[in-house]
Subunit: 250 residues, 2 copies
């Protein structure tokens, strides 16, 4: 029998501030909760606390909206300073319609508001996505491994909407110590047919599994997925971004 | 401490044939494996076995390709009969480019090849999506509840690609006994800010969590997610489909 997958929230992480060591905060919370890490655990960390720790936070009072931000904000009753931050975080606007702004970030992520978000942030501030989510994940991984003495993987994850489907799901922005794509091409099915195109976005599926417990306890910003050690290895969250040249929807 | 989420594969399900009762097959496999269901379990079932059980299978030898199917297949070295089945399963072609055919099915799902798939099917046959995945999920739910004496929820799930991101993830096509969208709008964050737009596609996240264990054991077509009882209730997979009028990418 294959081992069960277990997913549990990391409770007791304090409010994160600029300069904090996210990996150390998570390790401390796990120690206080008597939930020691094990080799092969995947620690999924909400982008929000990574951004806060890295100072990827913008004070809206310091933002001067451009004319296009003013105009869009007036039409859809948005905060023009927030719209301006979105535009600054974007390298390309993918859709700007019906009050919805879907943008491609400098990392290549395509998401609503270029990942700029005001929820769970002090009033008057918004977070932007980490500069290099793979580097963020690696820093957290090193801290978690060093403190726990275990080999673990990390994911920095955020909730993204999708075309065609309602609701948001958690996806991996950055990973460390993890192979986020599981390539089944070339394997054969039980009928002997070679699989042609099956590449599983396991990094995103692990992020979604973690989100189930992160949400239910009222916004816990990290969770541990145990039982997924087979995907530990080398990889990057950047590899989950489809190159623009291969994308039919950009 | 919140309860852990546990996810385990349902092993020992036999090859499914037309007319089989998928719920009964899963219940039998769980009984043989001594893994009894509990109230609030969510049983995630691969679309592939539902389609097989319902006879949503097409024999390619019986398909006469149309000229457009022939032309497309010749250009991209596909089986023209397979392309013809995709076109017949589509109510609209969303993209048809570079050998990739993204279509909207009669249900409103937007996915590669309209969900037509040859993997894990006997040579010469392809599966199409179930006629009514919510009804399929409900039939399986009733069978599972009746056989186990437990109140469980069901999801009929399939792996879909996404724009902008590499790899496929498992999503919910049909659900029964489950609220697949968790609407947080109106709740307040710890800073007192009212959440504006957070609706979590929990049905898709549960499907993705299940896929992690379904894939790893070599194609097990069902899994149980335990610890997600709070989302049990009334709902439909159809509610996860964004209405075309609200969609910026259709």
């Amino acid at each position: 029998m294959a081992a069960d997958l277990r997913v549990f929230a990391v409770e007791g992480i304090p409010e994160v501030r600029g300069g904090d060591d996210v990996g150390a905060l998570i390790a401390g919370a796990l120690e206080r909760g008597a939930r020691p890490l094990e080799d092969g655990d995947v620690v999924v960390i909400a982008q929000k606390i990574v951004s806060k720790a890295e100072g990827a936070v913008v004070e809206l009072a310091c933002v001067e909206p451009s004319p296009v931000a003013d105009s869009w904000a007036a039409t859809y009753r948005k905060d023009p300073r927030m719209v301006e931050v979105v535009l600054r975080e974007s390298r390309r606007i993918v859709r700007m319609d019906r009050g919805i702004l879907v943008a491609e970030t400098r990392h290549g992520f395509v998401c609503a508001n270029a990942g700029v978000d005001a929820s769970n942030v002090a009033p008057g501030f918004v977070t932007v996505l980490p500069e290099d989510p793979d580097a963020s994940a690696e820093r957290a991984r090193v801290a978690l491994c060093s403190r726990s003495g275990r080999r673990v993987a990390t994911i920095v994850a955020d909730t993204f909407g999708r075309p065609w489907r309602e609701g948001v799901v958690n996806v991996a922005l950055g990973v460390a110590g993890l192979r986020p794509l599981d390539d089944w091409r070339g394997r054969t099915d039980p009928f002997g047919r070679t699989l042609q195109s099956t590449v599983i976005a396991i990094g995103d599926e692990l992020s979604s599994a973690a989100a189930i417990v992160m949400g239910k306890t009222g916004g816990v910003p990290a969770a541990v997925v145990r039982g997924a050690a087979e995907w530990c290895g080398e990889g990057s969250g950047a590899s989950l971004v489809r190159p623009a040249a291969m994308d039919l929807f950009r």
